[in-house]
Amino acid sequence: MWGLLGFVHSRGVFNCILLQNLFDYVEELALVTYVVSDLSFVSSRIFTLHLFRTAFYKCNPNHSDNDLSDYLTISPESMNTSSTQYVTTRTMGMYEPIHHIGMWGENFKTNGCLTTSPSTILEDDTKLDNQSEDTSHGTPESKPVDKIQRRLVQNREAARKSRLRKKAYIQQLETSRLKLIQIESELERARQQGVYVGGGLDGSSLGFPGAVNSGIATFEMEYGHWVDEQNRQVCELRTALHAHITDVDLRILVDNGMTHYFDLFRMKASAAKADVFYLMSGMWRTSAERFFLWIGGFRPSELLKVLVTQLDPLTDQQLLDVCNLKQSCQQAEDALSQGMDRLQQILTETIAGGQLGEGSYISQMSNAIEKLDALVSFVNQADHLRQETLQQMSRILTIRQAARGLLALGEYFQRLRALSSLWATRPCKPA
């Protein structure tokens, strides 16, 4: 860089003055810069980028490189355009200095093309050379002057090459960084939606996708469709209830809604056969829904509590029936929970059988695998309980109440999913 300054200096006093002005300005940015001739448009671009970087970190000491990339819209193409486009208007504080630097850059460019071939640059260079050589043309003292000129040319070329290399490297870095950020955010989004990325992977660690279980992959896809369809049905119910359609038409909607839930239980049964641990983990559900997880889904008694408050007014008989249903639900849930505890106990005994520490445990493994079949039964029984509860509710309620109930339930799940999304995109506290 000092070599270049030397070159600039040799061009005459004019450049020195310019340089001095620039020094004054740049002192603010705490960075030494340089302005070279028109043909060094290339270098001014790289330097603008460096200036911006340093200025950014000076003004935003707590920001990481990620933030920097957020503010930058660097792409190979943008490098060719005016340097004022380097920064988005989000950083107004940054915009002014950059704009100024850009203007400086603009003042000194001939053609704006960064992809100017080296030969063109060389051409311009030789033009300059010719200009400066003109003054010393033909004199006997030209030999040592020629030597100096040649050395300067060599310096210039070396500097130019290094600038181009640097430019290419920075470009590469910037695009890679942007791509990395993009991929990370996509992956986060996918994880939030519970995409199955492979068997031994839990939700908290990021790993490479292993062999995907096809039964689970199918389930994931179908569940995505299921959620879309449920959202559509919720909208339909909402409009229908406000429009006061006939009970006959409402019954069709209610039956559709019920069947839709039964479809889910059927899908879950297949998924349980494919990978019961996956289903029980609830990774196919959003994070807030997972908080309420009980044997691969929601507790029917909890959902009943949500529903009852939404269904006023209920007749006394209805209230009694719902109360009984809630109690029966709770008893059934407790029985299943105790069965699960028993299974855990048995599994622990099986796995820990024999001497722990021997290092060989094949027989324990084969015994344990057999026991795991019971998990599938538990998921099936839990879903069976959910289905029976739904059906019993539909018997207790009138058609209009059932429609309101389905709408309430649908929106309750929507709210949980919205909460999960909000949670996923919450601003991260500074480290």
Binding site: L325, Q331, A335, Q338, G339, R342, I346, H384, L385, E388
Partner: protein
């Protein structure tokens, strides 16, 4: 207060008892010895649950019935006499030659009631308690 019928445990039942299952001791679980005992057990008890040893679903059925106030008799089927017991059960059920009812199987009032599925659904609809009362398993 109805109580479960007591069947003395036979010798040779060398399985370790479960840890912390204090409710287990309240119910008397036995292995079937001869084939005839199956039929007699079914007819003698208002409610009897047949289940494989260590089956967790059987445990679920027991817990649910207990909560309702029923103390069911439990017949634990071991691998050794599995075939025998199944044959007996098929005979009781009515000769459907499908290897016997799926376990766990609940017999109420001497007749096959069903598995955990049926117990759950009838419990939710509220039908289970009247049936149990009618069979004399519940007095209230």
């Amino acid at each position: 207060m109805p109580h479960g019928t007591i069947f003395p445990a036979t010798v040779g039942r060398g399985r370790p008892s479960s840890i912390g299952g204090e409710a287990e001791t309240a119910e008397e679980a036995v292995r079937g010895g001869d084939g005839g005992s199956v039929r007699s057990k079914v007819s003698e008890n208002a409610v009897i649950v047949f289940g494989k040893h260590g089956c967790c679903m059987c445990h679920v059925v027991k817990r649910l019935l207990l909560v309702l106030g029923v103390n069911p008799a439990v017949f634990e089927v071991n691998d050794d006499d599995e075939a025998e017991v199944f044959a007996e059960l098929s005979a009781i059920v009515g000769g459907i030659d499908d290897g016997g009812p799926q376990l766990p199987a609940v017999f109420v009032g001497g007749k096959l009631f069903g598995g955990l599925d049926r117990v759950m659904s009838t419990h939710i609809t509220g039908e289970l308690v009247p049936i149990l009362k009618k069979a004399g398993a519940l007095w209230l």
